[in-house]
């Protein structure tokens, strides 16, 4: 944990805008460059910055690791669930057409949901990876 007040204050100021930017990249991915993969990494970078500056203890208080693991799996489930939902609505796996009133709006909804699942998985995997690396204890395992 850093004692430097500039780092601590700047981290607190920057934390929300980074997540906001991540959400913008996530949901604006249909119209400009961006999408689930990039947004996930950007959101994860906010939490990683917080953990670097305030230490692992406070980082885990902010984002507990059991919630992290839960969301990690939830992203993949959302992706697969959208695919299975379109099977139940009478089309092939991951064909988004029946999700909306018209095929085009169905595609919109499907792509938005799928990208959200991707973003959730990627961001939580990155946070979990970083936490695992910095909490690793060296020494012979017995």
């Amino acid at each position: 944990m850093h004692k430097n007040p500039i780092l601590r204050v700047c981290t607190k100021i920057l934390f929300a805008p980074i997540i906001l930017f991540g959400l913008y990249v996530q949901f604006h991915g249909d119209f400009g460059p961006g999408g689930g993969f990039q947004a996930g990494v950007i959101v994860a970078s906010a939490f990683i910055l917080y953990t670097i500056v305030f230490g692992l203890e406070k980082g885990k208080k902010l984002f507990p690791s059991n919630i992290n693991l839960l969301l990690l799996a939830l992203g993949g489930i959302i992706y697969g669930g959208v695919g299975i939902a379109s099977i139940f609505l009478g089309e092939e796996f991951l064909s988004y057409n029946p999700l909306g009133s018209t095929p085009q709006s169905g595609q919109h909804i499907g792509i938005l949901l799928v990208e959200f699942g991707v973003g959730l998985t990627v961001s939580n995997v990155m946070i979990a990876l970083f936490n695992a690396f910095i909490s690793f204890k060296s020494g012979k395992a017995s």
Partner: protein
């Protein structure tokens, strides 16, 4: 003439980068360097794919109704976009393996580790011999 040799220059450098990555993997004995070599090899392959998708004078593949233009090929972009994220996940897996090896052997040099394995192997053979001689007696 210039444009034709420039048109192949990219490929040459990409192949050189690939070979540097390959050499880091097979020539260096340090495990961290090997992982860096893999990352370099990966990025050079990404460059090769993206280079294939380029069309001279085209715009990035984001539709714009106002100007009817030629768009670069979006397919390699999609393939590489996902490959980058998978690449960082697999790099992290490799790094964690290196950390585990370091905590078991106290070293990440390939020669050192194989020497330690050899010593262990000989120790095992000798203890087996001793046990056998005891058993026979």
């Amino acid at each position: 003439m210039i444009s034709s040799s420039m048109g192949i220059w990219n490929y040459w450098i990409v192949f050189l980068l690939m070979m540097i990555g390959l050499f880091l993997v097979i020539g260096r004995k340090n495990f961290l360097k090997k992982i860096v070599g893999l990352a370099i090899f990966q990025t050079s392959v990404f460059l090769l794919y993206i280079t294939f998708g380029k069309i001279t004078g085209a715009t990035p593949p984001i539709l714009n109704e106002a100007l009817d233009k030629v768009y670069s090929n979006p397919l390699p972009h999609v393939l590489i976009l996902t490959a980058i994220v998978v690449g960082v996940a697999t790099t992290a897996l490799g790094l964690s393996l290196v950390l585990r090896i370091n905590s078991e052997y106290g070293s990440i040099e390939e020669d050192d580790i194989s020497a330690q394995d050899l010593v262990d192997y000989h120790d095992e053979i000798e203890t087996n011999k001793k046990l056998k001689s005891k058993f026979v007696k």
